[in-house]
Amino acid sequence: MIRTEELLLNVGPQHPSTHGVFRIVVKLDGEIITEATPVMGYLHRGTEKLAENLNFTQIIPYTDRMDYVSAMTNNYVLVHAVEKLMGLEVPERAEFLRLIVMELQRVASHLVWWGTYLLDIGALSPFLYAFNDRERILDLFNELCGARLTYNYMRVGGVKWDAPDGWIDKVKELVRYLYGQLEEYDALVSGNEIFLSRIKGVGAYDAKTAIAYGLSGANLRSTGVKWDLRKNEPYSLYDRFEFDVPVGRNGDCYDRYLIRVEEIRQSLRILEQALEQFPEGGETMGKVPRVIRPPAGEIYVRIESPRGEIGCYIVSKGKAEPYRLKFRRPSFVNLQILPKLLVGESMTNLVTILGGIDIVLGEVDC
C-alpha cells in the first residue's frame, strides 16, 4: 500500500520570488498546490497611524515608502486629496511636471515589473535590460528632485522643484530612446516560445471574479473590462491627451503581460504630447497658506497607479494633522485573489501567478 501525504511548504518570507518579505504557506500534493494561505505584514510600518500625528507635508515622505517602485503616484494621491479638500488651485506648469513624472514613473515601474517577472520565469538578462533603461529614468528624477527612489517631490499646491535647464529635452530624448528599446524587449522575450508557453492560460479568471475581488489596474483590464481612472475619471491633465487603454480577453498572465508592455507604449505617447505642450513659464507653487489646515470634512480621491487604483481617504477635523488617513493600496487588494488562483496549480505556476499580479510588499503591508 502506498501512503501519500501532503507536504506543507513555507514559501517565504525569505524567498527569491516573493518580491520582498511575503509568505505563502502552501499544501502540496506532489507539486500540485491544494491550499495556499498568504501571510503578510512583515513590512508593516503603520503609515496610516503615524500619519495621524504628522502634518500633511510630513506625510509626503511616508507615501514614498509605500509603493517604493512608484513613489510619484503615491505622492500625487496624497497632495491631490488635500488640494481637493482645501479647494486649492495648482499652477499649470506644476500640474504638467506632475503628470510627466507620473508617466515616467509608470514606465519605470512597468520596467521593474517586466524585468523581475522574467527573472521569476527564469530568464536572467531581461532584468538587466529593464534596469538599464529604468536607470535612465531614475537619473532624470535624480536631476529633478535629488533622489532616485524616495522623491518627496510633490507638495500641497504644486511641486518642490521646477525642471532644471534642459531637463525637458532630456526627457524628450529618453522617450524616443525608449520607443526603440521596446522593440528590443519584444525581440528579446515577447516572442519566445518557452516564455509564452509558461504564461499562456496560467492564472486565468473572468471579469466577474475580478470585480468581485476588487481588482484594478492591469489585473482587471486583462479580463476585458476597460477601466482606467485616467480615462474614466480624468484627474490631473489626462483629459487633454490622447491615449488608449489596452484590455485583454482571457484574464491570464499572458494578457497581463501584453497589457503592461502596451501601457509602457501608451505612457510614452502621453509623455510625447505632454512634453510638446509643456508651458514655457509659470509658477510651480500655487497660493498655499503657511500651515496647511484642511477644513473639517472628509474626502476620497483615487488615481491610477501602475498597479491599479490607489486611493486616499482623509478625515479632517480642521487641524494640521489628519484625524484619520487611509490608503487604498492596489497591491493589497489585488493580492487577495492569490489563494483562489493558486489551488490546483504547480509550484512553478505559483511564481508565475504571484509575479503576474505585480505586488510591491511595501504597499501591501504599508
Binding site: 511548504l9 520565469i121 527564469g122 530568464a123 518557452i194 516564455f195 509558461r198 512553478t348 505559483l350 511564481v351
Partner: protein
C-alpha cells in the same frame, strides 16, 4: 596511450597512467575554473556589465578566490539530516563525472581507454550522478531540496532516453560505438561531419544534453526562483563545491562528446587545413559548444516541469526514433 592498454601491466605503465590521470585532472580543473570565469564574463557582456574584474588582472583570479572561500567555509550539516547520505552525495556526484572523461579521445592517439562501447559507458556512469542528486535532496531533510531531487530524477531519466536514441543514428552510420572510430568515420570536408546527415539527431542531442546538464532552460532541479537552489540548498563549503565541480565537469564531458559525435572531433573543416594540429580544432569546436551553453543561459527562461516531460517524451523521443528510421533508409538507399 593506446599501446599501454594492450601491453602487460607493469609498475611503469601504472605510473604513466597515474601521471596521465593527474594531467587530465589538472586540465579539467583548469577548464572548470575558467569556464566559470568566462560564463560570468559572457553573461555579463550580454547584460551591459563587465563581469568579474576586480580579483587579479581582469578578474582572472575570481574563481580561485571563490573556491578558496568555499574551502575555508564552515562545514554545516543540518541537525536532522541523514548524515551518512548527506556526506556521501557530493562524492557520488563527483566521482562518475571524472570517470566518464576516461573515454574521451582528444586526438588520434590521445585517449585513455579506447572502449568499444564508449558512448554507452558514458551514459551508464553519468546515470549514477542522478542517484547522487536524489540522495542529496533526500538526505538534506529539506522540502525544497526534496522537490529539487525528485524533479532532477524525473528529468535526467527522461532525457537520457532521447540522448541515447539521438546518437543511435551516428552509431549506425559508423557501425561502431567506439568514439575514436566515430571521429575517424567523419574524415574529409566539414560536410562529412555527422551534424549534416544527422541534423535531426544533432538537434535532439543538443536539447537533451543541455537538459542532462541541468542548465537553463532546463535547470528545474535548482530553479532559483521557485526552489531557491533545489537539491543543494542545504550544502555549503566544499561539499557544495563538489556539486558545482561535477556540474562543470559534465559540461566539459558533454561538450567533448558533442564535438566527437557530431562535429568531427579533431578533423579540420577542410583537409587542406591539416597543418593545424587536431587538438586545436578540437578545442575550437569544444569552445563553440561551451559558448553556446553560456549564450542560451543568458537568454532563455525556464520550462515548467510538465512541459519539460512533454518535450522529452512527446517531441524529442519521436524525432529521435524517426531519425533512426531515416538513417536506416538512407544507409539502405545510398550506401
Amino acid at each position: 596511450m593506446q599501446h599501454y592498454w594492450n601491453s602487460p601491466v607493469t609498475w611503469g605503465h601504472a605510473g604513466i597512467y597515474l601521471l596521465g590521470a593527474i594531467a587530465v585532472l589538472a586540465v579539467v580543473i583548469f577548464f572548470v575554473t575558467y569556464a566559470i570565469y568566462f560564463e560570468r564574463k559572457v553573461i555579463g557582456w550580454m547584460q551591459f556589465r563587465q563581469g568579474p574584474n576586480r580579483t587579479g588582472p581582469l578578474g582572472l583570479l575570481q574563481t580561485a578566490a571563490d573556491v578558496a572561500k568555499l574551502l575555508m567555509k564552515e562545514d554545516t550539516i543540518p541537525a536532522r539530516a541523514d548524515r551518512v547520505l548527506f556526506i556521501l552525495a557530493p562524492v557520488l556526484a563527483f566521482v562518475p563525472s571524472f570517470l566518464v572523461l576516461a573515454i574521451i579521445p582528444y586526438g588520434l592517439n590521445l585517449q585513455f581507454a579506447d572502449l568499444n562501447v564508449g558512448f554507452l559507458y558514458y551514459i551508464a556512469l553519468s546515470g549514477v550522478t542522478t542517484i547522487a542528486i536524489v540522495v542529496a535532496g533526500w538526505a538534506s531533510n529539506n522540502k525544497y531540496a526534496l522537490l529539487g531531487g525528485m524533479r532532477s530524477a524525473a528529468q535526467m531519466i527522461s532525457y537520457e532516453v532521447p540522448l541515447v536514441m539521438s546518437v543511435v543514428g551516428v552509431a549506425m552510420m559508423t557501425g561502431s560505438l567506439n568514439l575514436r572510430d566515430i571521429v575517424i568515420g567523419q574524415e574529409g570536408y566539414f560536410w562529412h561531419w555527422n551534424f549534416i546527415p544527422q541534423i535531426l539527431g544533432f538537434a535532439v542531442f543538443v536539447i537533451a544534453a543541455v537538459s542532462e546538464l541541468n542548465r537553463t532552460p532546463f535547470d528545474l532541479p535548482e530553479a532559483e526562483s521557485e526552489l531557491v537552489a533545489g537539491y543543494h540548498v542545504e550544502y555549503s563549503g566544499f561539499r557544495f563545491a563538489f556539486f558545482m565541480l561535477s556540474e562543470y565537469v559534465y559540461m566539459y564531458a558533454i561538450a567533448c562528446l558533442g564535438t566527437i559525435l557530431f562535429l568531427g572531433g579533431w578533423n579540420p573543416p577542410l583537409p587542406q587545413l591539416d597543418f593545424i594540429p587536431g587538438l586545436i580544432w578540437f578545442a575550437l569546436k569544444f569552445a563553440c559548444i561551451v559558448f553556446f551553453l553560456f549564450w542560451i543561459r543568458a537568454t532563455l527562461p525556464r520550462l515548467r516541469v510538465d512541459q519539460l516531460m512533454g518535450l522529452a517524451w512527446k517531441v524529442l523521443l519521436p524525432i529521435a526514433i524517426a531519425n533512426i528510421f531515416l538513417t536506416a533508409l538512407g544507409i539502405e538507399w545510398f550506401g
